[in-house]
């Protein structure tokens, strides 16, 4: 095989890798955010709405200020506000966190579409590429390694979050609240306060994930921007077993799986396109079935989580 042919067959792989890296960034941010929220003992199933609000507000801020990074900040703050709304409602007695999540999913996607109506045509400044492939003379590899700074930031946040959870006073407090509300109460911690903080930070991350969608890839605001990345957050976290480092791998796997179908179609293998797309969901289901038991809680899950009860 000549070198040119060899590069030709590799270019499919490069295309999948490049696409996986692009697609996985929002998965990474929503899963990191959800991990933190769930570590405090709450589930936020409404991150899809938060993601859409982040995408819309990030695009709006980038358009009106000319700075995509201010857009990312605006998206994060909008997400945090949605997180606080979730936390506030869940702190009321007899209010179920999963139901609030579904309600915020409907409310957030609706509100984003409503407020984002005037943003469909304007073109906002996008986030820049980082050229990690500068050393390569192979164009397809070079293109695959054009990554976004948010991906790098997300990958750096993952170990930092793990360290904070395991080695700081605040991390211990968060884990205590998530594993035993009674113990936390005995220690005098404010359970609702800790959970509100964790949910707000989780919302911030989901908002940033949304800004990636509108400001980088696909890189424009539309109502149908998200393909359910926010709804998948809960699944990703189960897959990552509530470990931020694993969130990176889970996000890459989910991103890779959703990139596999289009890449295979591009080289003429069109059959079973949609079944490949469903692979992450089936894998998560298999993982859930293997690790669940009627006798003990889900392995690795915080004990206070409502899905354990």
């Amino acid at each position: 095989m000549s070198i040119a042919e060899e590069i030709g067959s590799w270019s499919v792989v490069f295309a999948i890798v490049g696409s996986a890296l692009r697609v996985s960034t929002p998965y990474l941010f929503v899963s990191l955010g959800e991990t933190l929220t769930e570590k405090s003992g709450r589930i936020n199933l409404g991150l899809e709405g938060t993601l859409m609000m982040g995408a819309m507000s990030g695009y709006a801020v980038s358009f009106s200020t000319g700075s995509p990074w201010l857009g990312v900040l605006g998206a994060g703050l909008t997400g945090a506000a949605f997180g606080l709304l979730h936390a506030g409602l869940c702190s009321l007695p007899r209010v179920n966190d999963i139901a609030v999540g579904i309600a915020l999913f409907i409310f957030g996607t609706g509100l984003a579409a409503y407020l984002g109506k005037p943003l469909i045509h304007p073109v906002a400044p996008r986030l820049p590429d980082i050229d990690l492939g500068f050393w390569s003379s192979v164009p397809s590899l070079h293109a695959a390694l054009q990554v976004n700074a948010l991906l790098i930031i997300g990958i750096l946040i993952a170990p930092a979050m793990l360290w904070i959870l395991n080695n700081t006073r605040w991390g211990l407090k968060l884990r205590t609240v998530g594993d035993s509300a009674d113990a936390a109460r005995a220690l005098g911690y404010s359970i609702n306060g800790v959970r509100a903080t964790a949910t707000a930070i989780g919302g911030f991350f989901a908002g940033v994930g949304g800004a990636f969608l509108s400001l980088y890839y696909p890189g424009a605001w539309t109502e149908g921007l998200s393909s359910g990345q926010g709804l998948m957050a809960v699944t990703l976290v189960i897959f990552a077993r509530w470990n931020p480092i694993n969130c990176v791998f889970a996000a890459l796997l989910f991103g890779g799986a959703s990139a596999l179908g289009p890449a295979l179609q591009a080289i003429g293998i069109a059959s079973n396109y949609y079944l490949y797309g469903a692979a992450p969901y089936v894998l998560t289901l298999v993982l859930l079935i293997r690790t669940s038991s009627t006798k003990h809680r889900l392995f690795g899950a915080p004990s206070e989580l409502s899905i354990n009860k």
Partner: protein, 353 residues
């Protein structure tokens, strides 16, 4: 957990009505902030939902499938399950009904159409019984698994209609084979609303009677209230959980079958328009009461129906109705915290804090 949402009597009605009014008020403030007269919006909401014969028919048509998908939440909720898989069960029901319809080609319609509807209900029942069995025997959380099942169902639909059961004569979008036109059901005489509405209302009434008046319904509510008590009383817990889930799935599957035999005549991605998620909203607004589901579905159907008129009159985005529905959902959930706090609704002997 969901037990808190299940309640009876005037307290639930007052709290829900109050929550809906609060949501309407919040929505009015929201549109006022965007520069639209809220009173005019309320008027158009009413006109678009119930103001004319045409708008009433649109409301009823939209409410019909939502009643059925809401039962997919409300019936299992009695047994303490939080199922959010209505969207997937509707898709499976639609697929099953298409396969049945194609297989029955040549049979008399009076025989085929009921069988198609039964096939749809069976498809949905099996689809939701699987997550219930996984919960009962493996401890897999049913909310998460039914969420995953929605994605798997949609992928299965996309896969089947773009290859194995695709009708290549339909050029616009991937669509399955069509059922014979003779098997399609028409509209209710005197109304341009298809028979799905009758099935929806009937299913809600039957569910209400079964849950309230039968030993099965009583056993379910014991199970939903206290698993330990149900086990101690020797109730067949596994059978009850599976039956409740299957009945809910059957309702959503029937919704999919009705979409096929009354609207599309075939399966395609047009089945996935969010009826499953609207059903979750309706079930919570109805506080998991099947009779109240009818009213809540009319409310949500009416809000959706008036979306077009809001758009034409005020140039509002069509997402306006989704925003209002989201407000109502949030307000109803928040109102759960007021149970037992409204002194005028408490029995005399109860202490009020």
């Amino acid at each position: 957990v969901i037990g808190a949402a299940i309640s009876r009597g005037p307290e639930a009605a007052v709290l829900t009505a109050g929550a809906v009014l609060f949501a309407l008020l919040a929505f009015g403030i929201f549109v006022a902030l965007t520069g639209v007269d809220p009173l005019a919006v309320y008027r158009v909401l009413y006109l678009g939902a119930f103001g004319s014969r045409f708008s009433i028919e649109t409301t009823l048509t939209l409410a019909a499938p939502i009643m059925l998908t809401a039962l997919c939440v409300a019936i299992p909720a009695r047994a303490g399950l939080l199922i959010i898989g209505g969207e997937g069960a509707l898709v499976l029901g639609g697929l099953a009904s298409v396969l049945a319809g194609v297989a029955l080609a040549g049979a008399p319609a009076s025989l085929a159409t009921p069988l198609i509807l039964i096939a749809g209900a069976a498809g949905g029942a099996i689809w939701i019984a699987i997550p219930a069995a996984l919960r009962q025997f493996r401890g897999v959380n049913e909310t998460i698994s039914t969420l995953l099942f929605n994605y798997i169902a949609i992928a299965l639909l996309n896969h089947l209609v773009s290859g194995p059961i695709r009708d290549y004569a339909q050029p616009l979008k991937p669509t399955s084979w069509s059922i014979p036109p003779a098997f399609m059901i028409g509209t209710i005489p005197g109304l341009s609303v298809h028979w799905g509405l009758v099935y929806g209302v009937a299913a809600c009434l039957v569910a209400f009677v079964v849950l309230r008046q039968t030993t099965f319904g009583f056993a379910l509510s014991i199970l939903g209230g206290n698993l330990r008590a149900a086990q101690m009383a020797g109730l067949p817990v596994a059978a009850l959980v599976l039956t409740a889930a299957a009945l809910g799935g059957a309702a959503a599957g029937l919704a999919g079958a009705v979409e096929v035999v009354a609207v599309h005549g075939a399966a395609s991605i047009s089945l996935v328009v969010g009826y499953g998620y609207a059903g979750i909203l309706v079930a919570f607004v109805a506080r998991q009461n099947p009779l109240a589901v009818v009213g809540a579905a009319l409310l949500v159907g009416g809000i959706s129906a008036s979306g077009g008129l809001l758009q034409r009159r005020f140039g509002m985005p069509d997402a306006a109705s989704t925003v209002l529905e989201g407000c109502i959902f949030l307000a109803v959930l928040a109102s759960n915290s007021l149970y037992g706090r409204l002194p005028f609704l408490q029995p005399r002997s109860a202490e009020t804090k």
